[in-house]
């Protein structure tokens, strides 16, 4: 069996009296799209935040390529090639898409005095968008002027441009129309085909089944099942999420992968 690119083992997190994660496990293998699903309050956001370094777990281990790591900040996580596309996109609306792509990682013409190399950033941004099949009319337009889908594309392209291991996408299609949604899913597949894993957090079951290779289900702060997407159904997923389905069978099938 291949080594997981990113793994959480028995990760717990309390918020006061609330146990958000209760010895939760999570596994992502290289070059796959793994969907992370669960009902509201199942602990998805907390788990994702833990894995991108935004919060520190109370207990448990996070492993990158099999080696335990301490992720103390998102910058830390990025150092390991872990990127995230947040639901609010985290873009600066007054900056253009090239500037947003390189925000915090600018290229310099004269590094000593931090003079920006805007030309290079712009050119590489165009290349990065083209590689993902994203059509932006003009990379020098402030992203506040772009449509929702285009902004989404910028946020995704930023993560893709710098992720060497894995990208987390939190509800990446929730704000989009039908056509744009299809495009984002295409981008996800393309990213996977480049060898970067994608973790897709979504409520949309048909979408999950359409794009994911595997599905991991969280309920009440723990991983309760894993499925191979090709061999499961919406009903089964919903059953696992809600606990309607008792799942030793489902879990077995997943781990058989």
């Amino acid at each position: 069996m291949t080594e997981p690119v990113l793994e959480a083992r028995k990760v717990s997190k309390h918020y006061g009296h609330v146990l958000a994660l209760d010895e939760a496990d999570f596994t992502a293998y290289p070059g796959e799209v793994v969907a992370l699903i669960g009902d509201n309050g199942a602990g998805k956001s907390t788990l994702v935040k833990t894995l991108v370094g935004a919060i520190r777990p109370d207990q448990g281990t996070i492993l990158v390529d099999g080696a335990p790591v301490a992720l103390t900040s998102p910058v830390d996580a990025r150092g390991y090639g872990i990127e995230a596309v947040y639901q609010d996109l985290a873009l600066a609306p007054d900056l253009d898409s090239a500037a947003n792509l390189y925000l915090g990682r600018e290229l310099y013409r004269i590094p000593f005095v931090r003079v920006l190399n805007r030309h290079a950033m712009r050119e590489r941004a165009v290349a990065a968008f083209a590689e993902l099949g994203i059509a932006l009319p003009d990379v020098s337009v402030p992203v506040g002027m772009l449509s929702g889908g285009q902004r989404q594309s910028v946020a995704v392209a930023r993560a893709v441009a710098f992720a060497s291991r894995i990208i987390f996408m939190d509800e990446p299609t929730a704000a989009l129309g039908v056509v744009q949604r299809g495009r984002v899913l295409d981008v996800i597949r393309r990213v996977r085909d480049r060898g970067v894993s994608v973790v897709l957090v979504s409520h949309n079951m048909p979408e999950v089944l359409a794009v994911a290779d595997r599905v991991e289900v969280l309920r009440m702060g723990r991983r309760v099942a894993t499925f191979t997407a090709a061999r499961t159904s919406v009903d089964e997923l919903v059953g696992a999420m809600t606990g309607a389905l008792e799942l030793s069978a489902g879990a077995d099938r997943g781990s058989a992968q």
């Binding site: 998102p74 910058v75 990025r78 947040y86 609010d88 996109l89 985290a90 873009l91 600066a92 609306p93 007054d94 900056l95 253009d96 500037a99 925000l103 915090g104 990682r105 600018e106 310099y108 005095v113 931090r114 003079v115 920006l116 805007r118 003009d138 020098s140 337009v141 402030p142 506040g144 002027m145 772009l146 449509s147 929702g148 902004r151 299609t173 929730a174 704000a175 989009l176 129309g177 039908v178 949604r181 409520h203 949309n204």
Partner: protein, 377 residues
């Protein structure tokens, strides 16, 4: 003001700003959002173009009203010297406003820095102080402004106290408090002659020192804002601090630096004012902050952060300075000047709101899409 000014490099209004080609808002209301979208990043530039146009019209009006008096090089040179410290402070204020903050303390820090600088000089040679003493005094003045600014930045960034409150307190504490404590309420009138005769009254290569210094500061500030990481982070923080934070930018540190820079430039303004007036003028800068903020806002900087430019602030300052000077020349009662500044400030902020609403059109549509997506999911 003894020497006749040559003023070779001063035709501020006509020469320096380069009108940006294209992108005038359309007259057809139907194409509104489309135009807004296409105009994109050039919106700020467009507002500079408009302001420049207004400036030219105003100059024409004043010239017609007072033929032969208004549009002369001497006049521009005098205006440039009178506005030198305002320009220097407007550079710092531009950075602050682009981060989404405001600095009301600039005029007071100017006074306080002038006082601390002169205090040293008085005790080290007085009117006959050597250049070395003047240099040390100036450094003390600059350090005073910088340190006070950094302290304000710390309270704003780390203490999360709104910049309006922190710098209002700074405005009162530094200008009405500390400056009066040090001087005992009476202006220091002993200023080193070398400083006054050179920086205050002298010229370099035919350009008055006050103008040369303030223009160099404005140009350097503009280059830093437009072309360096420091400028980029300034825009990013004003545009979306959370995004900047998640991108790994040290937001708090950057804010402290920006307020320290504003304080430092107010300190420089203090030296220029000291040299120009031959006095600490502790009661003379109470409204500098409003004049500076008006200039920056007129120049297209958004008080909500994320937008603005040094060229815009420069034209904005030229606009308000020429407006005041013109009112004097055509003989309007001087108290109307204060009214004019107030009106200009409100007009500038109104324009900013107007531009934001324009841009908001895109947002509304996006929100609708989001709703739609939610229902489908």
């Amino acid at each position: 003001m003894t020497e006749p000014r040559q003023a070779a490099g001063v035709p501020a209004a006509e020469d320096s700003p380069r009108p940006v080609p294209g992108e005038q808002p359309s007259r057809a209301p139907a194409a509104w959002t489309d135009v807004a979208r296409r105009a994109g990043g050039r919106m700020a530039a467009a507002s500079e173009t408009w302001l420049l146009l207004a400036l030219v019209i105003m100059i024409v009006i004043f010239t017609v009203q007072a033929p032969g008096k208004f549009l002369t090089l001497t006049d521009f040179s005098l205006m440039g010297q009178d506005a030198a410290w305002l320009l220097v402070m407007a550079v710092g204020e531009t950075f602050v406003i682009i981060t989404g903050g405001i600095d009301l303390s600039v005029g007071s820090l100017l006074v306080l820095s002038g006082v601390t600088a002169d205090l040293y000089c008085i005790h080290h040679g007085g009117a006959g102080a050597s250049w070395a003493a003047i240099a040390v005094g100036s450094l003390i003045g600059l350090a005073t402004g910088c340190a006070w600014g950094a302290m304000q930045g710390f309270l704003i960034a780390k203490g999360k106290v709104p910049s309006l409150i922190v710098t209002l307190a700074g405005f009162i504490a530094a200008g009405e408090g500390v400056a009066y404590l040090i001087t005992g309420g009476a202006d220091f009138r002993t200023v080193p002659n070398r400083l006054v005769n050179t920086i205050g009254l002298g010229s370099v290569l035919g350009v008055p020192w006050l103008i040369a210094i303030s223009f160099v500061v404005a140009i350097v500030g503009g280059l830093v804002l437009a072309f360096t990481q420091f400028g980029r982070y300034t825009y990013a923080i004003g545009s979306n601090p959370e995004a900047a934070r998640r991108a790994g930018i040290g937001v708090d540190r950057h804010l402290i630096k920006v307020y320290a820079l504003s304080g430092l430039l107010a300190g420089l303004g203090g030296i220029l004012s000291l040299a120009s007036f031959d006095s600490t003028t502790i009661a003379g800068h109470a409204f500098d902050n409003l004049e500076v903020i008006t200039a920056v806002a007129l120049g297209g900087a958004s008080l909500f952060g994320g937008r603005g430019s040094m060229l815009g602030s420069f034209i904005g300052l030229a606009f308000s300075t020429i407006l005041l000077e013109g009112l004097v020349i055509i003989g309007v009662n001087q108290y109307w000047q204060e009214v004019a500044i107030g009106a200009a400030l409100v007009a500038a902020v109104y324009l900013d709101q107007f531009r934001r609403r324009q841009r908001g059109a895109g947002r509304v549509r996006w929100a609708a899409l989001w709703q739609f997506g939610r229902q489908r999911a």
